[in-house]
Symmetry: C2
Amino acid sequence: MAGPKYLTGDKAGIEEFLAKFDLFLFDCDGVLWSGDNIYPGTAETIEMLRAKGKQLVFVTNNSTKSRADYKKKFDGLGIPAKVEEVFGSAYSAAIYISRILKLQAPKNKVFVLGESGIEEELKSENISYIGGTDPTLRRDMEQKDFLSIADGSALDPDVGCVLIGLDFHINYLKMSLAYNYLRKGAVFLATNTDSTLPMAHGFFPGAGGVGAGVVKAHGKDPLALGKPSQAMMDAIEGKFHFDRSRTCMVGDRLNTDIQFGIEGKLGGTLMVLTGVSTKEEILAEGAPVVPSVYLDKLSDLLG
Amino acid sequence: MAGPKYLTGDKAGIEEFLAKFDLFLFDCDGVLWSGDNIYPGTAETIEMLRAKGKQLVFVTNNSTKSRADYKKKFDGLGIPAKVEEVFGSAYSAAIYISRILKLQAPKNKVFVLGESGIEEELKSENISYIGGTDPTLRRDMEQKDFLSIADGSALDPDVGCVLIGLDFHINYLKMSLAYNYLRKGAVFLATNTDSTLPMAHGFFPGAGGVGAGVVKAHGKDPLALGKPSQAMMDAIEGKFHFDRSRTCMVGDRLNTDIQFGIEGKLGGTLMVLTGVSTKEEILAEGAPVVPSVYLDKLSDLLG
């Protein structure tokens, strides 16, 4: 396998690379911005790609935001984007539940461990749910909860699926409910299983971290609908109908973004060094996942 | 390997078996009681063993209770026991930190994810700690927390160890703090890594479930100080100075209790069928862990 090509400062190499693709799938955090801080040159790079006639899709594993929330974030940071260009893992999960899982009534309710972004996307697909941001579940576990969860009286008999995403309000009560719905046979899904969440130039537990307690108790992994799961690539393809050989995945993480592009048999993968993975990782002898090309930062595409 | 011997109703076999041992290590839940319900004959069996001059140690992975809490539980159920005979995973962790890890000042503080049982045992070994039941950490994560944890200003520079146990008040803020102390190099310990907690005739996330988010984010497992970790056996031996060949482990779980006794090279292991593991599991062809003997219930030792 040829090593990844370093394109920063290589004008001709960049031109040649860009010409190979009609569509760019973009990871967001660590590529376009870090938390609420846009990287210099991001908006100009996006505009340059649009000017060249490239189609853009913003693919994010962040499940706390809906596509509409994301659109607001793009607007606030001054990056031109449309709601239809955003494809988040919460939306991916909603699409999977409504169009592939097709839960049959009455057992068609989803118990959500997550924030409003998931709820909004479930609503957009007319999926009924409980949990999520329900304020009555944001409290300590009490003795009566152990009894009513154990005997089933606290469980909604219509729940047929547990969907786990990033929940900043995770607690023992919600973990116990999710686990006991699974014990009763609910289908187990996750928006994504990212172990960490980059925020404020630091790292925090990601959706995979927040959901790990339920996974550990249950002893089985969920089907993940975010990168690198190809269930997400299939969902994107179902919506955008693109030619994989003329598509490039752009990201900062080897084990999510780049792996997602490689397993999806895309024409290319571009890694930037402004996020999680490092140059050392991709240049290491026998590195398991490497991008086709890499740049110090996205705006190096401006040449 | 000879199969396990069934001793229920076998008076001569029981006499012969008891004569081999001076010390019995007892698991509690599923052996002596289930939750708050004592099994019939438990107190009489304990008294019979004492009358025969046997030494008893009660070994439990439950980290929410201190030895003093456990003593209260024994009293309440009418089982004669002394505080010194109780050896919980919280105490095991405290012993490990004070006598083996020996953290050097100033970096000798422990960040606790757990309840008061852990705090009491740390106090008993004069170990300073933060976290635990601190009410100021029982709240939602706020934007300012992301900033102050990421830049380190919210982190106590004296923390040299993260200890995870069963925490019924787990939240994103505490998970984030624990994970970031680990990122700064803190030693990673767990009282135990039980995936589930049997309660109220049901199952709930155990210490291993509660801690799994931090483990997933950090990407490394903690050293566990509960069964079946031999770190716990070493701690028990350090306190009681017993002859392993004349010691028997009594329990209801193959993959914690019985494995603990076998790996500790004890003279014998006794399994009772009143808890988690079943007769089918130990009699299965090629069963990976089997006890030396088994009984329907503990009180069958009375003959």
